[in-house]
């Protein structure tokens, strides 16, 4: 007798006697979550499922059972492409490209110098 009444209702003979192994696996789906409209859709994890419909249905309960959600996307893992981390160096100099950043452009000094010189203030 188990302390768990649910277990007492289970037919444990279903287990069988041979070496136990479960069968091979479903494919995985990458799951993307959007909290509300206007927000980015963000990768949150994966689910195991056999088709997009099932992946969505199952992703809802794994990744949207708390807080706000407005949509979920799924894509087969095998359909998502990425760089290799070995090529991470292609991004290395990006942060140093300051000419792309707003903060790089500072002309206040020149304006003040100009104004001082020309007595415009």
């Amino acid at each position: 007798m188990s302390l768990d009444p649910r277990v007492n209702r289970i037919d444990l003979s279903k287990i069988g006697n041979e070496e136990q192994h479960t069968n091979s696996h479903l494919i995985t789906w990458e799951v993307f979550h959007q909290e509300k409209k206007g927000k980015q859709v963000i990768h949150v994890g994966i689910v195991h499922a056999s088709n997009p419909e099932m992946a969505l249905v199952l992703a809802k309960e794994q990744f949207a059972r708390r807080g706000a959600t407005t949509n979920i996307w799924v894509a087969k893992t095998s359909d998502v492409y990425s760089f290799s981390y070995e090529d991470e160096d292609i991004f290395e100099t990006t942060p140093s490209k300051e000419f792309r950043e707003a903060g790089y452009y500072k002309v206040r000094d020149r304006i003040e110098a100009y104004q001082a010189k020309n007595h415009t203030v």
């Binding site: 649910r6 209702r9 195991h48 499922a49 099932m54 249905v57 199952l58 309960e61 794994q62 059972r65």
Partner: protein, 252 residues
Amino acid sequence: MNKEAIKELLYKMGDDALIIGHRNSEWTGIGPLLEEDLAFASMAQDKVGHAQALYQISHEVLGDKDPDTIAFQRTEKEFKCCQLVELPIGEYDFSLVRHFLFDHAELIRYEMLTASSFKPLAQLAKKVKGEIKYHVMHADSFLKQLAKGTEESHARMQAALNFAMPFAYGIFEKSEYEDVLIKEGIFGGEEMLREKWLEKISAVVTAAGLTMPQVADSKIVYGGRKGYHSKFLEPLLDEMTEVTRTDPGAEW
């Protein structure tokens, strides 16, 4: 409005939701796929929540006892759930098919209730019909796939459907207040619900490649709505109230 009629309706809906939620919560941790455990557990929570909300309406609007007392301190005879929801979870095939049959009826019932002349119920119906829509989506998705999966899964789905159908028709057993509910615009009635349901599930069942079982009227399992239950409800209630009964009056 007829208070007795409303109470009857709230109880039968609440009891259905409580008992099927209770049953489906049993899958938590032992389901066929981790993701599916999660889905069953969520739907179980939704159902238990619906029961609580329905009893709460009875408590607030009709001056009834509080939801915990209604759920945990009634006798088996006082429960008005249909027998379909009382049956043990069995194997996954039965649990899935029961969930499919029950939730299609729930969705239509709540859709009908959004127009109820009894405002608290209409409001609740608007609030929760999205949840039930998801339950139906989930049930349809799995039913279709398993019906079309392997020979074994197809046979299991058909067998579960054949077994569950006479119980499912029992959902629509009329209470003595049926005419009052319809006349006062509280609920459109079990007959209308049953027709819409039959149309809906027939379409899904057929599309899944399964056969709709023909059920003779004499085989339909009635009784639940009048307090006559299967042999499974009493032990279920004993189990559910086991802790509460050890110390009546204690707060948990």
